[in-house]
């Protein structure tokens, strides 16, 4: 069944050790970064160490453990398309969730609501 046997397996132990090193950096990085005074530096350092290294780790697992590096181009495209639509979802929804100014409507006490004369309730 497996008609496309992988010719050679990379050295999984080496990749595993690298992943552990990256894990250590991503844990310790933010702890040190939080002692920084500059807010901008702090945020970018945390984001880079936490999410940047997380993305690298994910990429390594996907490329070598899931063998995406030698997988068909079609499969890679499929996964990229899924992620693209998630970014689209974020872009479309974020303005409504993140920019809520203008949604803080308040009742105007001076406003006179139009009078509605209710017809008598229907027989039931």
């Amino acid at each position: 069944m497996n008609n496309d046997k992988h010719l050679s397996h990379p050295d999984y132990k080496k990749i595993y050790v690298r992943l552990l090193i990256l894990l250590a950096i991503s844990i310790w990085g933010p702890i040190f970064a939080l002692q920084l005074d500059n807010r901008f530096l702090l945020v970018s350092a945390v984001l880079l160490t936490a999410f940047g290294i997380g993305a690298i780790k994910a990429g390594m697992v996907a490329a070598w453990f899931m063998h995406l590096d030698i997988e068909l181009r079609m499969i890679k495209r499929l996964l990229v398309i899924c992620i693209f639509f998630l970014i689209l979802l974020f872009a479309g929804v974020a303005p409504d969730v993140l920019l809520p100014e203008g949604q803080n409507r308040e009742m105007d006490p001076d406003y006179e609501y139009p009078k509605i004369d209710n017809p008598s309730t229907p027989e039931q």
Partner: protein, 197 residues
């Protein structure tokens, strides 16, 4: 009943250039990406909106437990990929042995998770304490459910692999397991590391 089940000829065809089982697995992974992705996108939006408030809550997640779990899952992934290598070499016994280690590590992951949940709830951070904690339990719970399902399927695959049957399944369940690992790699910084922001 499944013993006499004959797979149709269609299953053995490979017009697209890769085995059907692996193609199907990739589609499962793609559909899981959007399920977890939707949850993570929603969480990121809320996290950015409630920055200061949720940062306080996020301080109370247990970094060491999350780190330990990341380590456990990475190790289990390493065993899974070694099992794939062994299965491809035709060594079903060795593959089964490695898969059993993967299952055990999945069990360790769930135990750590259980300890975490218990101590958080006892400390007053249950699922209803704050919206942050609702997200925490939903996301990690959904992920834990996938770990559990993965362990069960791994068990079936390992049972077959020990007899030298259906060795191509070792790669497919491996792809799924690595995907579950990748989801955790993203949940870990979201809930545990980037707590100070």
């Amino acid at each position: 009943m499944s013993d006499t089940f004959q797979p149709p000829i269609a299953t053995s065809r490979t017009t697209a250039g890769l085995p059907t089982s692996r193609l199907g697995t990739w589609w499962v992974v793609a559909s899981e990406i959007v399920i977890f992705g939707g949850l993570i996108v929603a969480f990121i939006m809320y996290r950015m909106r409630h920055g200061e408030v949720w940062a306080e809550q996020a301080e109370h997640t247990k970094l060491y437990a999350g780190a330990l779990n990341t380590f456990v899952l990475l190790t289990s992934s390493y065993f899974a990929v070694c099992a794939h290598k062994a299965a491809e070499a035709g060594d079903g016994k060795k593959a089964a042995k490695l898969l059993v280690r993967t299952i055990l590590l999945g069990g360790v992951f769930l135990c750590v998770k259980a300890y975490e949940y218990t101590s958080e709830i006892l400390a007053g951070y249950g699922p209803l304490a704050d919206l942050f904690w609702s997200f925490y339990y939903t996301a990690t719970g959904l992920h834990g459910f996938h770990v559990l399902v993965g362990m069960i399927i791994l068990g079936f695959v390992a049972k077959d692999a020990a007899k030298g049957k259906n060795l191509h399944r070792v790669e497919c369940i491996g792809i799924y397991w690595h995907f579950v690992d990748i989801v955790w790699i993203f949940l870990f910084p979201l809930f545990y590391i980037a707590s100070g922001l």
